[in-house]
């Protein structure tokens, strides 16, 4: 009996130590949790924008808080001191980087985020192609009462389309260190009739923006990265088609230090509209020509900038020894000759019969 009692007391005593898990805790109602983090750089100083949702009676309104300082953490700290609640970056979902900062390089910024783990490494990265002050100002004014526009813009089950790149912080970090992989980050600007407008993607090499690709090229980038291209509509001279799915096959070869890649891209499409009376063959040919041309153009553009966002170097890891793989971008990628073959298959033509 006595033993049992001491046991209970001991257990209760142990509970006291459980509190060590909640040290210095702040209640959830004393925290603000920004969902969008905007970062710009003015000469030497960072400028941080925090878009913070705060629920009103039936709707969610957002406000934007701005701070300036030497480092991101310092700014967040300052903002936290000035606000009535503490700022918690745990739930940041989208990081918007100013274009000038992206061109200058985001290596330190991304490394800092990965190091401190305040911001989730799953957060999406975007680049603001406009004046970032204006961008956030209109975010605050025009955000729909339902939530945050930017988040929905990227949400796969909301506003996302296959021609928008989905790049997360850890992928950017990987591209900074990886020998054979770069990333594309979506670029946004204020739209005329819609709040944001997607203008294509920025090509990031070693943490610096070196090139731009448009939305159509981003679709190919997504296809190469295994992201489904389903639902994208392609318009060509003969009509328009809906992409239902894509598969890819690559064969790589290195001869006398010259890499060669043969890629076969198979697309399943459905005919939506036709102009005149094209035969299915004509539509297939038209689409194949359109996409092959687009791929080749994009590739030669990327080759000049030495940024391997398609991850083509990945296919050569077998052939090129690791020592030389370090020089993939500078030595091999430039001499890479490719042969892109697009093979279009019309799966069906909707409710109407195929035009003959």
């Amino acid at each position: 009996m006595r033993c049992k009692k001491t046991g209970i007391w001991l257990f209760l005593f142990l509970l006291v130590f459980m509190m060590s898990g909640c040290w210095d805790t702040r209640d959830i109602n004393h925290r603000v949790m920004p969902v969008v983090l905007g970062i710009a750089k003015d000469s030497d100083q960072y400028k941080v924008f925090l878009q913070i949702p705060h629920p009103q009676l039936d709707i969610i309104q957002t406000k934007v808080v701005i701070g300036v300082g030497e480092t991101i953490n310092e700014i967040v700290d300052d903002i936290s001191a000035d606000m009535e609640s503490s700022v918690d970056l745990l739930h940041v979902k989208v990081i918007v980087i100013d274009r000038h900062l992206a061109e200058e390089g985001v290596k330190d910024l991304i490394s800092g985020i990965m190091r401190s783990r305040d911001v989730s490494s799953k957060a999406l990265v975007a680049i603001c192609n406009d004046d970032i002050d204006q961008f956030f100002e209109s975010m605050e004014k025009n955000t729909s009462p339902g939530g945050t526009t930017l988040l929905d813009f990227f949400e796969k089950n909301a506003g996302w389309d296959p021609q928008i790149a989905l790049t997360r912080v850890w992928q950017v970090y990987r591209s900074i260190h990886s020998y054979t992989r770069d990333v594309a980050i979506p670029m946004l600007r204020l739209g005329d009739t819609t709040l944001v407008e997607h203008v294509g993607s920025a090509v990031i090499k070693n943490g610096r923006m070196v090139e731009e690709i448009n939305a159509n090229e981003t679709l190919l980038y997504n296809a190469f990265n295994g992201e489904s291209t389903q639902g994208k509509i392609e318009v060509l001279n003969e009509g328009s088609v809906l992409i239902l799915g894509n598969t890819m096959k690559h064969t790589s070869d290195v001869q006398d230090g010259k890499p060669f890649l043969h890629s076969k891209i198979k697309l399943d499409v459905m005919i939506l509209e036709t102009k005149g009376d094209p035969t299915p063959k004509m539509i297939e040919k038209g689409l194949e020509k359109l996409l092959t041309g687009r791929l080749n153009r994009m590739f030669s553009k990327l080759q000049v900038s030495e940024a391997d966002i398609l991850g083509l170097g990945q296919f050569f890891r077998k052939e090129i020894p690791r020592m030389n793989l370090k020089e993939w971008r500078s030595k091999y990628y430039k001499n890479l000759s490719t042969d892109f073959v697009v093979d279009v298959d019309i799966q069906n033509s909707g409710n109407l019969k195929n035009p003959d």
Partner: protein
């Protein structure tokens, strides 16, 4: 009664706790390509020492390592049991210190270290005072709760892999064998298996089943290293302190109600580590109790030992000192994880010869 299941589950849990933390980082640091080679070498070593220990123990039914050594004489006892005790002490100090540091690095950045260390030690000290059977039963319970979660995380962690990062597969350079981070990775390989030599009289088990448990661990050794490598590539993964934690961080499942799986992952690992700490506490106290101070009640000894460990842990100022301690401990660890199984095996062979003559 055959209680092999207890031993098997405990074997798997404590090893998972050790593997999923520092092991991936150590392996990734030690070699830049063909990581399966160092992993496989480690696993082979694991099997050899385990097999030697089990074969040696089979010659002495219902006896633990301590009685076997005590029967073999004072010199043998001192040669092998004393370093083992020292090793257990060091292992506990390092584990408590390192894992509480990990907890602060990864999620409780505002909590002082002493509180986390106290929590870790009090819980495992309490468990150890209750005896080895309590530890093993707790193991079963935790296995039922947390093992499915760990399996789920191991499966969904494949979400972001890029299989091309497997290449290059072969590595001509075997310099990793002497690399200090590779030697440190043996903490996961030879860290806890000795407990099967201690629990024998209390929890009897079958040799075959323990070997099966070790086989079940092989995929975990490989997965723990390859998931980070395949997700980030060696060049990026080697910049992380805990590559596996970072990989779990990058898992994105919209249908899952929890935003960050890392928390659940880390908590289960820390709980497994609690089991490990209490098991090692119990073993060191058993050695002290049987060889040095037979009159004192084991539960008092457990408390005393935990207190000493806690005080030493408070002395260690930072993470680089923990790593330094890890390095110092390496030679002792190799002496113990090779010395004990081999000596038990030799004693077993000798006993058989005596039986025959």
């Amino acid at each position: 009664m055959d209680k092999s299941l207890y031993v098997v589950i405990m074997y798997i849990l404590t090893h998972i706790g050790l593997i999923l933390f520092l092991y991936p980082g150590n392996i990734i640091d030690s070699s830049s390509q063909g990581h399966w080679i160092p992993i496989v070498i480690g696993i082979i070593v694991h099997f050899i020492i385990l097999f030697l220990l089990l074969t040696g123990l089979d010659r002495f039914p219902h006896q633990d390592i301590i009685t076997i050594y005590l029967r073999a004489g004072k010199l043998v006892t001192f040669l092998f049991l004393f370093p083992t005790l020292l090793y257990f002490f060091m292992a506990n100090i390092i584990t408590v210190r390192a894992y509480s540091e990990v907890v602060t690095i990864v999620f409780l950045s505002n909590t002082p270290l002493w509180a986390i260390m106290a929590l870790l030690l009090i819980l495992s000290c309490y468990l150890a005072t209750k005896g080895v059977e309590a530890i093993f039963r707790t193991g079963i319970l935790l296995f039922l709760f947390l093992f499915p979660l760990i399996c789920f995380i191991l499966v969904v962690a494949f979400q972001n892999v890029d299989w091309h990062y497997v290449y290059p597969l072969w590595n001509d350079d075997f310099s990793f064998l002497t690399d200090s981070s590779y030697l440190r990775s043996f903490f996961a390989i030879g860290g806890v298996f000795l407990f099967i030599g201690f629990v024998r009289p209390i929890i009897p088990y079958k040799r075959k089943k323990v070997l099966l448990a070790a086989v079940a661990l092989i995929p975990i050794f490989i997965i723990s290293v390859y998931i980070p490598v395949l997700t980030f590539g060696q060049a990026t993964a080697s910049t992380f302190l805990f590559p596996f934690v970072m990989t779990v961080d990058a898992i994105n499942l919209t249908w899952l109600m929890f935003d960050r799986l890392t928390m659940f992952f880390l908590l289960s690992i820390v709980i497994f580590i609690l089991l490990f700490i209490s098991l090692v506490l119990w073993m060191s106290v058993r050695i002290i109790n049987k060889c040095l101070l037979p009159t004192i009640k084991p539960s008092y000894l457990v408390i005393a030992v935990s207190l000493i460990i806690y005080i030493i842990c408070l002395w260690i100022p930072n993470w680089s000192d923990v790593e330094q301690l890890f390095k110092w401990n390496t030679s002792l660890r190799f002496y113990v994880i090779f010395g004990v199984p081999i000596s038990i095996w030799i004693l077993g062979v000798k006993a058989r010869k005596e039986d025959e003559s």
